[in-house]
Amino acid sequence: MTLKTLYQKIGFPRLIITVFFIALLIGAVVLNIPLAGLWSSIFVRFGMNAILVLAMVPGIRAGIGINFNLALGIVLGLLGAILSFEFGFQGATGFLVANAIALPLAAIAGYLYGHMLNRVKGDEMTVSNYIGLSIVSFMCIVWIILPLTNRELIWPMGGKGLRVTISMENSFGEFLNNLWAFPKGATGASSFVFPTGMIVYFALWAAIVWAFNRSKAGSAMSAAGASELFATSNGVNVNRYRILGTMISTILAAAGIITYAQGFGFLQLYRAPLYMSMPAAASILIGGATLKDARIIHVIIGTFLFQGLLVVALPVINVVSGGDMAEIVRVIVSNGIILYALTRGGEEA
């Protein structure tokens, strides 16, 4: 393989980010930042975010583009986690109950949302942004008026409305992180721990999506997404498959935020769900997806690169500049890569 074809295969954005990532790793070594801890953080953050990134796949394949409205699935995932918390479930049970409540709700919401997207064909990505804003605002009201009683959920003073950030220490916080984690007993920021449970859990969802893509329904859905004319003339009900894609995307968003929250250890309510779509979209685009084509491998590469960049950038840049540069890097990378993909349209991003 010549250098040129290799370059074309990797693509400009991935090349830049990979080079940047490696430069940061070298920087970390030079600055004596312990790499073992950084690698565990990368794996943990990969596991936390990958399902949210995976949620982009069915949306893109079904032809609704990047689902900027992950917030819809996210708020329902949060609702599931909160109710599970309220009922006092912990650990594995808590995690399962949260999903059992959230996923069916997400399926229903995704179905309705899919119907709506069928009425705004061609403008899905614009509309999904505004739906996201509306849903999050609406849920701000819901978080305040939900009649919950658990003292850890509601404001300590006044006793009405949910807190902005809820610690999951007494619920199922870090349940997946610690599941089958090895080496056992390793603690502290500088030692290496592999979050087996979290990675396996992601692999489970990825396998489901992968299998779906190879099923008859998945194949029909990609055809509907790739060319509405082709699909229609070959007897595919395009609108139905767009709804299906939206549903799966919303369900994955709900499952994704529950995984994210348990890894983070906190439930973030109110405006927080708004800030989840952009990094997820950026990740899958970095991974090599376009506005028309997305695969599991894009999710894995993209999430790894994007989260790796953030994890390594934080200590390295903070040591070098002294300020909170890591957040700025995150914003520049995520918005930049989305802008790049949008200007390239359906081409290779």
Partner: protein, 528 residues
């Protein structure tokens, strides 16, 4: 001296010769008709005359042009306009929200000097609306139009828009030659008559008219001279009084190349396979306005006609891709209309004229393209694992490899995406999908458009094989009469959305030519 002389004009697009040594001479005040089938080279000739960028971007042309004896080499439409050539395009170039005056005077507005204009240049001069309105009125009067110049274009009848376009051209003071590209195609009959009168009065004012149309009777009634193009060659240039409608039709269709035609067969006893009753299809630009047909089992049924007359709409309507009314009956059973799925479930498949839009998944592999219809409708290439049905990738590849060999699809592998294939190979992929689907009835539109000779032969041979050996019913829609004649058992000619007649493929050129122009041979003979 002739107003316009075009000498030995030749033009090829990437090796494909579209014009060969065409000559055209127009006298001042002459109405000159230019006729030819779709793809005969009319538009290219006009693009050359009008200096369209598409000509220069593709390497220019050969031959010379003279206006009033002066050499004329337009580099852009601006040059052509400066030389006194105006053109009214088939698609209107009008701004709906502007008034007639504003459209007529667009970018040529009369202005009055202002201080702003003196300081910042002429673009900031004030519009002289009175003069603009005056000028427009004069232009409209020349066209016998009783309409106020301050009316907005939006909501005007189509006929009026056409006249506004012409008013804009004749308002240009130096206009010597006006090119009209299919001007009457969009007009109702009464409007068309009025339009022809206007053309004649323009001609009396000394403006020469180059009139492109496929309505032969119109040419016959108004023009002085006529030029017929066929396959890029000038086959006839004659004074109108020396030529009859029948001769014009024969020259237009002609048989340029003798193709090996199949032995004819008699299918009159075959059962009816597909019946259309009073079918109307609302397909933009190809509307079908009530067609009834009986298609026999196992025949190749050709559908011909000129572009925009509705022939394309028939297959699209049967397949349910555009809103359709009427009845479609397959083997005695009435089909649900407007449902592609219903037709596919009943083993009818369609290869669209819109190959890239409807016929292919451009960013998917050849093998997936080939397997898709059979997999979606007939559950082929699927295997059941636990709860779901999954694609049998191996089966899909094997089938594709077989098809690639059978149809000689030139590709790097069955995994190659279809976007980078040539037109001919793309069409073969579409045909492979239809073969894999194994339909009873195959609808195919423009099977050889945009593909090379070799692929063309293979495609047509495949259709003949399917019909004669496999007993498949094939409905083939094509703009190329020659290929319809080569393979069809019967040819239906569609004109103005209606069935003009069903003909034997060996019918005389002039009969088919007149049918395509919407005229009846017998009537024309009786009139003459």
């Amino acid at each position: 001296m002739a107003l316009l002389e075009m000498k030995d004009i030749s033009k090829s697009y990437s090796g494909n010769q579209v014009l060969k040594n065409v000559n055209l001479t127009i006298e001042p005040g002459e109405i000159h008709g230019l006729i030819g089938e779709n793809g005969a080279g009319k538009s290219t000739l006009m693009n050359i005359l009008f200096g369209m960028p598409v000509i220069h971007n593709t390497g220019g042309h050969e031959g010379q042009m003279f206006i009033n004896g002066e050499p004329f080499t337009p580099k852009s439409p601006m040059d052509a306009m400066a030389a006194g050539i105006g053109m009214v395009h088939q698609e209107f170039m009008l701004i709906p929200g502007f008034t007639i005056t504003e459209n007529v005077k667009l970018n040529r507005e009369n202005t009055k000097e202002t201080i702003l204009g003196k300081v910042f240049g002429k673009k900031l001069n004030r519009l002289d609306r009175e003069t603009m309105a005056e000028d427009t009125k004069i232009a409209l009067e020349k066209l016998h139009m009783n309409i106020d110049e301050f009316v907005k274009i939006q909501g005007l009848p189509v006929g009026y828009m056409q006249f506004v376009e012409i008013a804009r051209e004749i308002d240009k003071r130096n206009l010597q030659l006006l090119i009209l590209d299919e001007p009457t195609a969009v007009l109702a009959e009464s409007e068309a008559e009025k339009f022809l009168e206007v053309i004649q009065s323009l001609s009396e004012m000394g403006i020469a008219i180059l009139f492109i149309t496929h309505r032969l009777d119109e040419i016959k009634s108004v023009s002085h001279g006529i030029t017929v193009l066929r396959d890029g060659e000038m086959v006839l240039a004659e004074k109108i009084e020396n030529i009859s409608l029948v001769e014009m039709a024969r020259a237009m269709v002609g048989r340029s190349v003798e193709l090996s035609t199949e032995e004819r067969r008699d299918l009159s006893d075959a059962p009816v396979h597909l019946e259309l009753i009073d079918m109307h299809v609302k397909m933009p630009g190809e509307e079908v306005k009530g067609v009834s047909l009986e298609i026999k089992k196992g025949e190749i049924f050709g559908i011909g006609g000129l572009a925009g007359q509705g022939k394309i709409g028939i297959s699209n309507g049967i397949m349910g891709l555009y809103p359709t009314t009427g009845k479609v009956i397959k083997s005695g059973q009435e089909m649900k209309l407007n449902s592609p799925r219903e037709m596919l479930d009943n083993n009818v498949t369609f290869l669209s004229e819109d190959r890239k839009g409807m016929g292919l998944l451009l960013d998917d592999s050849i093998e997936n393209n080939i397997a898709f219809a059979a997999q979606e409708i007939k559950d082929k290439f699927l295997k059941k694992i636990l709860v779901g049905r999954f694609l049998d990738k191996k089966g899909i590849t094997e089938n594709a490899v077989k098809m690639i060999e059978e149809l000689d699809i030139r590709c790097t592998s069955s995994k190659q995406h279809t976007r980078r294939l040539s037109g001919g190979n793309q069409q073969k992929v579409c045909i492979a999908r239809a073969l894999t689907f194994e339909p009873d009835i195959l609808l195919i539109s423009e099977p050889t458009r945009g593909i090379d000779i070799g692929a063309k032969k293979l495609v047509l041979d495949t259709l003949v094989h399917l019909s004669r050996e496999e007993g498949m019913t094939v409905v083939m829609t094509s703009s190329e009469l020659a290929e319809l004649r080569q393979v069809s058992d019967r040819i239906a000619i569609i004109s103005d959305g209606k069935l003009q007649g069903i003909f034997n493929p060996d019918e005389k050129d002039e009969v088919l030519g007149l049918a395509m122009a919407g005229d009846d041979y017998e009537e024309v003979l009786n009139d003459a």
